[in-house]
Assembly symmetry: C2
Homo-oligomer: 463 residues x 2
Amino acid sequence: MKTTLVKQLYREYESFNNKEVELTGWVRTIRDSKSFGFIELNDGTFFKNVQIVLDDTLDNFKEICKLPISTSLKVVGTVNITPNSKQPFEIKAKCITVEGNSSSDYPLQKKRHSLEYLRTIAHLRPRSNTFSAVFRVRSLAAYAVHKFFQEQDFVYVNTPIITGSDCEGAGEMFRISTLDLNNIPKTKDGKIDFSKDFFGKETNLTVSGQLPDEALALAFRNVYTFGPTFRAENSNTGRHAAEFWMIEPEMAFAELEDYMNTAEGLVKYVINYVLENAPEEMQFFNSFIDKGLFERLQNVVNSDFGRITYTEAVQILKKSGYKFEYPVEWGIDLQTEHERYLTEKVFKKPIFVTDYPKDIKAFYMRMNEDGKTVAAADLLVPGVGEIVGGSQREERYDVLEKRIEELGLNKKDYWWYLELRKYGETKHSGFGLGFERILMYLTGMQNIRDVIPFPRTPGSAEF
Amino acid sequence: MKTTLVKQLYREYESFNNKEVELTGWVRTIRDSKSFGFIELNDGTFFKNVQIVLDDTLDNFKEICKLPISTSLKVVGTVNITPNSKQPFEIKAKCITVEGNSSSDYPLQKKRHSLEYLRTIAHLRPRSNTFSAVFRVRSLAAYAVHKFFQEQDFVYVNTPIITGSDCEGAGEMFRISTLDLNNIPKTKDGKIDFSKDFFGKETNLTVSGQLPDEALALAFRNVYTFGPTFRAENSNTGRHAAEFWMIEPEMAFAELEDYMNTAEGLVKYVINYVLENAPEEMQFFNSFIDKGLFERLQNVVNSDFGRITYTEAVQILKKSGYKFEYPVEWGIDLQTEHERYLTEKVFKKPIFVTDYPKDIKAFYMRMNEDGKTVAAADLLVPGVGEIVGGSQREERYDVLEKRIEELGLNKKDYWWYLELRKYGETKHSGFGLGFERILMYLTGMQNIRDVIPFPRTPGSAEF
């Protein structure tokens, strides 16, 4: 007999009415009285459990009723539609066999556990309601990203994780090495001899695929990365992880406007896809994690994102009369409090803030004609603040070279990046979207550790 | 005027006949005589170029004809269908403007370059025909993998890249650290004090996501990873890279047979998807890279994959009378020459070889009843040899514990992996598919360095 998956059963239960099915799955709860009992069985394919009804006509009724949570079972039984019950159908068990044992000290008992505790059992927490929902949404959101770009013929590219360049400039890096730490080779002048290391030079984990990504955009026009990136920053906040996934699209023949249109389209697409394909999970988040979730997401999906310049934003913030912790002046990097004020109080919808002062942005961003600002734009969303950062890239060889020199960077490190401007320069733009940021936004989860199956943070690389 | 993409033009050129379009792209070649000329323009969205016809009625005719390769242009002109020419249509230029300059020393001239040379200009090689085809196929194949699994409701999971466990056992590892190499902290007894390192312990780059992947399969039933993995092996072959992407599906309530069915389905799905969605690229490979490509791929798609045990395979090889470099005896690890003989000479189609001796396979593979072999299976394909490896996992706590002890592994490292067997053990199976292996198979490219945009190999981490 072929095993029926619970997702299929939920989606088409009417066609299963009175039919016999075989299910396999794990016990979530068992309740019993003298002569009958109920098992909530979860088979992994669906957020919800199936209710199994059993009674003492089963030979092993008593033993089954005593099984610990998470025992894995095979159940053969008949589907009965139950229009007056909470669940739309139940299974009247004909035969239940134990596939694999569990134990009464199972750490994930029915009572509510703190998210902190659940992190200590990351190998088991995907079996809880919350994490079952989070990681299923993670999977669907990842697929939505690919689908969005593939439907528009963007080429998915894998930029290197191990980088030999220290010119990405987006943050502190992890060093990768196979040198023997007990016997580090030194050069004659006493420096570490990285020529003896695996790659013959010092290498690190990437903080951004953008630079190589640009090389690929100048061949394929529209490309995107979707892969892990790393920051060796010792910040123990709920928003930072040492290892996280990023989506970095890059488009040739594209100006700032084109990036903003694409980013707006992507964010809306992913939200819509998840709402459509994970209705049960999203309902759970809206009921138990963040009661304003649906309202917030619907507002994003149905808004035309606003667009203002940084200079306008600063004026608005200064005129607001609101007492910010960090005072606003033209030239400062906007803080989360400023970003949230703009998007939540002023615009009440997502906005792009454009044309930031060059001094607070990266060297590769395209200089505007005023010589003071660059063609950058950050997307701010209510409830979070910045969720996407991007810019038009400096395509003019001379201007880029001058910026590299001004900032005291080593031009030699950028030989190939400069060559991209020498051989067929075009206007091009791109952006970065932290995948976990959008997951937190989609689910209402407040800590990045709770949207990554096995998170890596300072002092923690368990499992 | 909205820019038309060349892919769209090729797919629907009849509807564009006699219409004016605007194109942007890069010059691949320019030929000219006194009063007219031809430009092959590539806009990145399509493998093929568009032929632009220009004549001296253009003001800037002479300057245009002198432009170096890879100059980026904007062309406005009329589409003319050309049923008697090599290309199905051409563009009669009305106005051509230079968007960005190139230079006459552009390294990717029209003449044929060696693949070795092209690796030294990895930032430009995606603009060549070969790499334009390779990396577009890479993108489509990656999407096909996601599509295959998502259509069957597998949950995509991201297992950690940075691992604190040294128990993955699949190969040598790269150490990740933020310790100051000039001043390595030591413990009182003179050992390196990793408690001072970023994660408070020694960490490495993952060689396989399988172990954490199993934890997720025991929650979601069917899961898959698709991410980078690493090997610090100093092997300079055409088949090994230090950084490569792997697909690792893991299925609960699944036996060896289920893994084999899924792997067979996946391989066929990816091949079909690429053949359908990249016909021009695949035609190119079949004509210029590997003349037997179509035949080989069609054979895979149309065959029911064979299945024999390792023991049968050894018997066949011994009886064959063929002089292998490495002699065959029961107990040896099959070499590529053996694998290719079986799949190319004996079966003439892909085969799974099952039930290998336990001593040549990993500790986590399920022990067969004979006590000598494990429920493992490798998929061998003509032209390459092994392309997929997988097994049923040992779900029995006692048997797994005993294997860990037998092999002298440290049980403490496996506490959570063992707990997966304590709390709701089920039969489960999974496999690993090296993404670059299947790309080499799909394209006929012989060197793994030529299917990765910026490959990492011993002594090489450029770009």
